[in-house]
Point group: C2
Chain length 370, copies 2
């Protein structure tokens, strides 16, 4: 038995199980490619052709380091939101920024508030700094603003997380409710408002951006509606002093030159984005129809996926998901109690939703039989 | 004065000054583009045309998330080095992996050994976890193996860092010296052997890879000889259990799909790499000639840059660098005492070295005058 260099206590206490299993790993395990990729809330419509053109043009330039300041992308994002570049920090997707925020605000043993069943990557990052999760159950398939607020007060938590619209349920709160939540929060609690899906939500779900407020950080990404999940680029919007603090610990060269170029180009093509929003809406309706045709109930969604209530318990929904996976349809499902009666289906291309429509009755039969 | 959510003690203690100033920021400040980009140790020869072709082909696929396992790239790197994929972890450049290692092994207040004037990004990451640097002076323009070993023992350090070949001096140790150092290290000290420049070094500088040894992690990158600095991709090679521990905290979706594809393609084109190595060698000799023609002394280099001894003190070398910068020649320089008499010039394209040759006498004149 070799002698190992000891890890820090926080790292030593962490499990070595990996919560991230991509569709590629599932394909390698089964030896078969999925016929419909409807599980990762990607945008099957892809990025704007103008974005692709810019990436193609930039490929030979990849010998140059990226600008560690992300200057052009920050300027573009700031203009897009009517804030200053000093209010923007760019990261390797929202995931990267969530990791930094946990390091900035959470010491080992300290509580962090989120919803039970909400974004698991946030929980992963909280665990990685030794934080203690204080999870709040969903209410009526929505994250509970009152419950989160109660937990923040009870725990005196430094961080609270909300996704709006929400993953994995696709539900949302209106801006006025979110603003009421913000007003009620203690100054000493940082609010992470993850708006990864916001471009696909009703405008009424988006609070006005207020960068004077030092305890709210808004998270945006190019991974969803902009169709750039594979390029790893997101950003946070917040008060200047808070944003400046990311500089203390971020990987300054972490966001690739390609990602910065793609992100900037994506912001420029709002016309393309509008088209994606329309296609996603049509796709959501199609998924709801497929669900209904099979006696299942699609929940309302403000995202690029639809949570479908399978009408029975979590075990049944799990069997249904597994039957769909086995038949070449990649989907995922919520696992938390109460939410686990659902499966989660991302909007895909028409031919993928055709495959879903074709396979759903067969998968249901298998799930009911076994 | 707004009330801010308090940072952790480690973060609160960190300076908000940013150590990373890219050439783009300097260009924005001066309002002028550099005429020769010779300061960031990039490969001006660019990536292989086959790599560019693969990136171009992959651009429309960027709507898909990257494989969080980095499976194909790990398999390719493992085959390249004759190890198992379980011995490889991929990160957002070596920088990203250095950040993870400091989080894995260094608790606040604990000592970390490195050389005074060695890679500043490593120091940045040590600071970001509240580690305490125990820096060891260079000896004869090389990192001091004996000095590092003494410091490890004196401090009972969990981490020790060495770059071989070395940045910023371009010097190197032979494999047998490095192996002697490894043999002498305590089991409870993890050795980070940063080999970012190894493809450009004599084969004799590279110890055989031994993944049975649990306290050595070898760092490789696509940023240097492979010409992909902008894509952000590097990897670490080590013992399985150690490599598995990265899974506990790494940003699993941090390395873009584009980076994984580019890295895999780069490894495949070893013929192109061999050509770059030859061009870099010619470039180093050209820089040495330019230095000699101006009465300066180029130090031997096993990297894609050359440290040039300006023959006077740090203040003079600084003036020379500033004069070159002002004349459109982007270079950098070591700042640590003893090394700071040098400037550091990356190998560039022929026309860039022509500009260097033309500007050096003028810059020297300015430095001597002022």
């Amino acid at each position: 038995m070799p002698i190992y260099t000891p890890f820090t206590p926080v790292i030593a206490a962490l499990p070595s199980t990996v919560p991230f299993v991509g569709p590629e790993a599932q394909e390698r395990d089964s030896g078969k490619k999925f016929r419909a990729r409807l599980g990762a809330n990607e945008s099957s419509f892809g990025p704007s052709p103008r974005v692709i053109e810019r990436m193609v043009k930039a490929a030979p330039d990849m010998w140059m380091y990226c600008d560690p300041d992300n200057h052009h992308l920050k300027v573009a994002a700031a203009a897009h939101h009517g804030v200053k570049p000093q209010n923007i920090v760019v990261g390797e997707g929202i995931d990267g920024l969530l990791g930094l925020l946990t390091r900035m605000y959470v010491s080992p043993g300290e509580p962090v508030v989120t919803s039970l069943g909400a974004y698991p990557t946030f929980n992963f990052h909280v665990a990685s700094v030794g934080g203690r999760l204080a999870p709040v159950p969903y209410e009526n398939d929505r994250e509970s603003l009152d419950g989160l607020l109660d937990a923040v007060r009870r725990e005196d938590a430094r961080l609270v997380y909300l996704s709006n619209p929400d993953n994995p349920m696709g539900s949302w709160w209106d801006a006025e409710d979110v603003n009421r939540f913000i007003e009620a929060l203690p100054d000493t609690t940082m609010f992470i408002l993850d708006e990864a899906y916001c471009e696909l939500a009703p405008a009424s779900a988006l609070p006005a951006i207020d960068v004077a407020r030092p305890n709210v950080v808004r998270m945006r990404t190019f991974s969803k509606a902009y169709g750039l999940a594979g390029i790893r680029c997101g950003y946070a919007i917040g008060e200047e002093t808070v944003i400046a603090a990311f500089e203390k610990i971020r990987n300054h060269y972490g966001v690739s030159r390609m990602a910065q170029i793609a992100g900037e180009a994506a912001l420029e093509d709002q016309g393309y984005l509008a088209g994606v929003v329309r296609k996603v809406d049509a796709g959501r309706r199609r998924i709801a129809t497929i669900a209904g045709d099979n006696g299942l109930q699609a929940l309302p969604s403000a995202t690029n996926f639809v949570a479908v209530d399978c009408g029975e318990d979590g075990a049944f929904a799990l069997k249904l998901m597994q039957a769909l996976l086995a038949r070449g349809v990649f989907i995922r499902k919520p696992m938390a109690a109460g939410l686990d009666r659902c499966i989660r289906i991302s909007v895909g291309l028409d031919h993928e939703l055709d495959i879903l429509a074709e396979e759903m009755p067969k998968a249901l039969e298998i799930a009911r039989a076994g």
